[in-house]
């Protein structure tokens, strides 16, 4: 099955045992993103730290891809800078549009999301939390200034 490219073991693991799920009370910016076609939702919060990194927390509901992707996001983007995180978001988009090869240094387990590129309708699921992160991060930095 082609499907196994999308639903790799590593993705299903993240889905079943999500990392970092749960909202922190303390935050500088909060966003709520939805995928209007299927109703997937995420609430994501960002707190900037002294050293310029951003702490992330989230809560979500949705399909395996959107939940696994959020869990991977937590692994990769918790406590990174806006620049580092933005670079990762852009690489994920490029990978899902097949314009860049998966780079494990940037995405960690996220490279396993490459199978999603075969299913255009699922790309939005994989991107939901990452777009939310970018939105919230920019707001949080903006407020800090």
């Amino acid at each position: 099955m082609n499907l196994e490219n999308m639903y790799q073991e590593i993705i299903l693991d993240h889905y079943k045992h999500p990392h970092g799920k749960g909202l922190k009370d303390d935050f500088a910016a909060e966003v709520h993103h939805v995928n209007p076609t299927c109703g997937d939702e995420i609430t994501l919060r960002i707190t900037p730290n002294e050293d310029g990194t951003l702490t992330v927390s989230y809560d979500n509901q949705g399909c395996s891809i959107s939940q696994a992707s959020a869990s991977i996001l937590f692994d990769q983007l918790n406590n990174v800078t806006l620049e580092e995180g933005t670079q990762a978001v852009e690489h994920l988009i490029a990978m899902l549009q097949r314009t860049e090869e998966p780079n494990e240094d940037i995405l960690g387990d996220g490279v396993a999301l490459v199978g999603v590129a075969q299913y255009p309708a699922r790309v939005k699921c994989a991107l939901l939390s990452w777009m939310a992160w970018k939105d919230a991060a920019i707001q949080a930095i903006g407020k800090g200034e």
Partner: protein
């Protein structure tokens, strides 16, 4: 009653000659979103373009005459299908535009009246006052909810709604229409729950307080015999593309005296009587509501779809779907971990069967089904409030139509079990 010959029907639909994913047979269970099209419809549309194409109602040459005749003959065929007069059928691009046409009639009449501008005789029926009430139901498609929310936002009217019972029916006991109730807009069949509503019961209560009744017939006209006179409603709206017809055409039927009383919605060419730079006057319905060059080829295609359905017989179509729905409900109810959202019995119910699978998100269920060649829809089906009402983020939905058979129900069941196995849930 004559059972449908599904093999013969499928042979008319070119799309079933293709396979999907890993060379699987196409099991199309998404007709609730849009139906497939038989050769007869595609041929009719193409024949129009190849032999009679011209702008209708606009030329004195032979092609224009032929195009106009074909367009108006299509209108007559479509009218007959729902027991209506041709002049009471307005063509729109889809059902959504048809419903907006009605909601904008209220907006435009209200604004023009407040400014003391000319309105058609009888337009008071469409003038809203602050605090007037518009009633919908909690099972509406967004197309029959958002336009009314918008209308309320713009006029100060108040939106109310009829709630739902736990088993997926309208809670008629929650109805409290009053003299402030101006519009009751509801669906004939829910596209998510499958529920078929008791139209006449609602109409009786609505008309008792003089409210206008707008029926969303998107999921009824394609699937059962519908007669506007029998239903007793004031407007019905539906789409061509869900009933074997082309994309890009919808229909509004309205009572003649109401259409005549409505100010125009979209304005421009062909809907006018006279035009001066200072002001214009407007044609009688249906032209008043058909500004610009219309979708004549699509009207011809839709008439061909109706001929096709008439040949099958709408009673037979309804009976066929009823049987498949019964089968599907029975089969799904014995899969452990599967829960139907909507009535679990086929009585007063159409073929839209929504369900959730414990431990699996509908998107993932849909994906595995797709891998098995089974095309279903997943999500909130443009009826988000229904999902909220039943506390599910989304559902997986199968819908059956004339080209589906028992084997398709089996494929659905097998696919759901495969999804459970793949994700390690269920038994």
């Amino acid at each position: 009653m004559a059972p449908l010959d599904v093999a013969k029907i499928r042979a008319d639909f070119p799309i079933f000659d293709r396979t999907v994913r890993n060379d699987r047979r196409l099991v199309y269970l998404d007709s609730g979103a849009t139906s497939q099209k038989p050769r007869q419809v595609l041929d009719a549309e193409r024949n129009f373009y190849e032999h009679h194409n011209a702008a209708v109602h606009r030329g004195a040459h032979q092609l224009a005459e032929e195009a106009t005749d074909a367009f108006e003959a299509a209108r007559a065929t479509i009218a007959r299908f729902v027991g209506a007069q041709p002049d009471d059928i307005v063509f729109t691009k889809n059902a959504t535009e048809a419903l907006n046409l009605v909601s904008y009639s209220f907006l435009n009449a209200t604004i023009k009246s407040a400014r003391g501008k000319a309105l058609p005789e009888g337009a008071e029926r469409f003038v809203l006052a602050e605090g007037d009430e518009i009633v919908v139901t909690e099972m509406e498609h967004h197309a029959n909810l958002v336009p009314w929310q918008e209308l309320c936002d713009k006029t100060g009217a108040v939106l109310k709604w009829i709630g739902l019972t736990d088993d997926g029916r309208l809670d008629l006991s929650s109805i409290d229409f009053s003299e402030r109730t101006r519009v009751v807009a509801f669906t004939h069949q829910s596209n998510l729950l499958g529920t078929v509503n008791d139209v006449q019961a609602v109409v009786a209560k609505a008309h008792a307080v003089n409210a206008l009744v707008v029926l969303d017939a998107c999921q009824s006209v394609p699937h059962m015999p519908v007669d506007v006179v029998e239903l007793g409603v004031d407007f019905i709206a539906w789409s061509g593309h869900k009933m074997l017809g082309p994309l890009g055409i919808g229909c509004l039927w309205g009572k003649a005296e109401l259409l005549a009383a409505m100010p125009p919605f979209i304005t421009g060419g062909s809907m006018i009587e006279t035009v001066h730079m200072e002001s214009s006057t407007f044609a009688a319905p249906p032209k008043r509501f058909e500004a610009g060059v219309p979708m004549a080829a699509q009207a011809v295609g839709l008439a061909a779809a109706i001929d096709y359905l008439n040949d099958l017989g709408m009673d037979n179509v309804a009976e066929h779907e009823h049987r498949l729905t019964q089968l599907a409900l029975d089969a799904l109810s014995v899969i452990s971990g599967v829960r139907i959202i909507g009535p679990t019995v086929a009585h007063e119910r159409g073929s839209a069967v929504s369900f959730v699978v414990d431990g699996l998100h509908p998107h993932d269920v849909g994906q595995i089904l797709d891998e098995h060649g089974v095309a279903v829809r997943v999500g909130h089906h443009c009826a988000w409030p229904v999902c909220r009402r039943y506390n599910v983020p989304a559902t997986t939905r199968a819908t059956f139509y004339v080209y589906n058979d028992e084997a398709d129900v089996t494929a659905l069941v097998d696919g759901i079990k495969a999804a459970q196995r793949f994700f390690g849930v269920g038994e």
